[in-house]
């Protein structure tokens, strides 16, 4: 079970890394997981996808603009679901 949970956060980080870098992807998932959900990254599951994406939104919107960030988050949401 733990392996599956770890793979979810890793899967999400892997999808984000080409856009924001591996360092930022790992840091963001860790930060949003702790701040918004009170969880460690390894405890994340697919049911946490929506709050994770909500937490990532301001970051991506600053870097790539609102509509591009929205499209990317929807795409990532579809891929890791």
């Amino acid at each position: 079970m733990a392996g599956h949970q770890t793979s979810f956060s890793q899967q999400l980080a892997a999808r984000l890394a080409p856009y924001i870098g591996d360092f930022n992807a790992q840091m963001w998932i860790k930060s949003v997981a702790r701040r918004e959900l009170g969880l460690a990254p390894e405890d994340l599951t697919v049911k946490h996808l929506t709050p994770l994406i909500d937490g990532l939104r301001p970051f991506l919107q600053t870097l790539m603009g609102r509509s591009t960030a929205e499209n990317l988050l929807q795409q990532i949401g579809r891929e890791v679901h």
Partner: protein
């Protein structure tokens, strides 16, 4: 490959510029060649900035940043072109024309500072974790501030003394120097944001903007050297000005290509800058 080519372009341009100036041997063609290549790099920089503007929507933070940078570049381009007219030339005798040139110089500097300021504070807006933490940021910030003050400070002080003696034409030089000091200090967040984004698509525009600012630092160093220190006929400040403007062009184009690539990856329509239309 496209991004590497963009990164290599300013260096290639500098080599060609040096080769041509060397071949001119300080002759009478050197001044017009230097002037018109300056216009060329300003036009390229403006084109890069507006390409970047075109890939964002109204209200997006980076759209505003690139808009300020593009506006500042256009204003300084207009000032340079005005210099072609006798009244606006550096030795021109028309006081009103000189006021216009001074005002354009100040406006341009402030617009460029606004753009760099907005880019530099993006990490805070996006809550990006910068590498090295607070202490790393502090060390790089202090080092950059010391370099900026060492390079630009003495010139700024000299120009302040000129104003104190009633020479208000030095005002633009003081504003320019103060803007240079602040802008050079902003290299720290730009550089650390680029490092933080390393390995990703977005590292390219941030890295290239940082390279542009570093080239301005080299320009300031070259411009502050005593004339006798440089070989005759070698316009070193122009080399670094060209590098700075071309890196800004490359950064703007990289920004455009990165957003286009993300939009494609996300299955969204890709904006075409010329028409504003979208393609699937």
């Amino acid at each position: 490959m496209r991004f590497r080519s963009l990164a290599a372009f300013p260096l290639l341009y500098a080599v060609i510029f040096l080769a041509i100036t060397w071949s001119l041997q300080g002759g009478e063609m050197l001044a017009p060649f230097t002037f018109w290549q300056r216009i060329l790099v300003r036009v390229l920089a403006a084109a890069g900035c507006f390409a970047a503007v075109s890939c964002f929507e109204r209200g997006d933070h980076l759209r505003n940043a690139w808009l300020w940078l593009g506006a500042g570049t256009i204003v300084i381009l207009i000032r340079d072109l005005l210099r072609l007219f006798p009244g606006f030339a550096p030795q021109g005798g028309d006081p009103q024309a000189q006021i216009v040139v001074t005002a354009l110089g100040i406006l341009s500097n402030l617009a460029l500072l606004g753009g760099i300021w907005m880019l530099a504070r993006s990490w805070k807006m996006a809550a990006i974790t910068l590498p090295g933490g607070r202490s790393g940021f502090g060390v790089v910030a202090v080092a950059t501030a010391v370099i900026a003050l060492t390079v630009v400070g003495p010139g700024a002080y000299t120009h302040l003394q000129e104003i104190a003696r009633g020479d208000w034409s030095a005002l633009v030089l003081v504003v320019s120097a103060v803007v240079d000091i602040i802008t050079l200090c902003l290299i720290t967040p730009l550089l650390l944001t680029a490092i933080s984004l390393r390995g990703s698509l977005f590292a390219w525009p941030w890295g290239l903007v940082t390279a542009s600012q570093l080239a301005w630092l080299l320009y300031d160093i070259a411009a502050s050297l005593r004339p006798g220190l440089l070989p005759a006929g070698l316009p070193l400040p122009e080399v670094f000005r060209g590098l700075a403007e071309n890196y800004l062009f490359a950064a703007g184009m990289a920004q455009y290509f990165v957003i286009a690539q993300v939009r494609r990856a996300a299955g969204a329509p890709v904006l075409r800058p010329a028409s504003g239309e979208v393609e699937a």
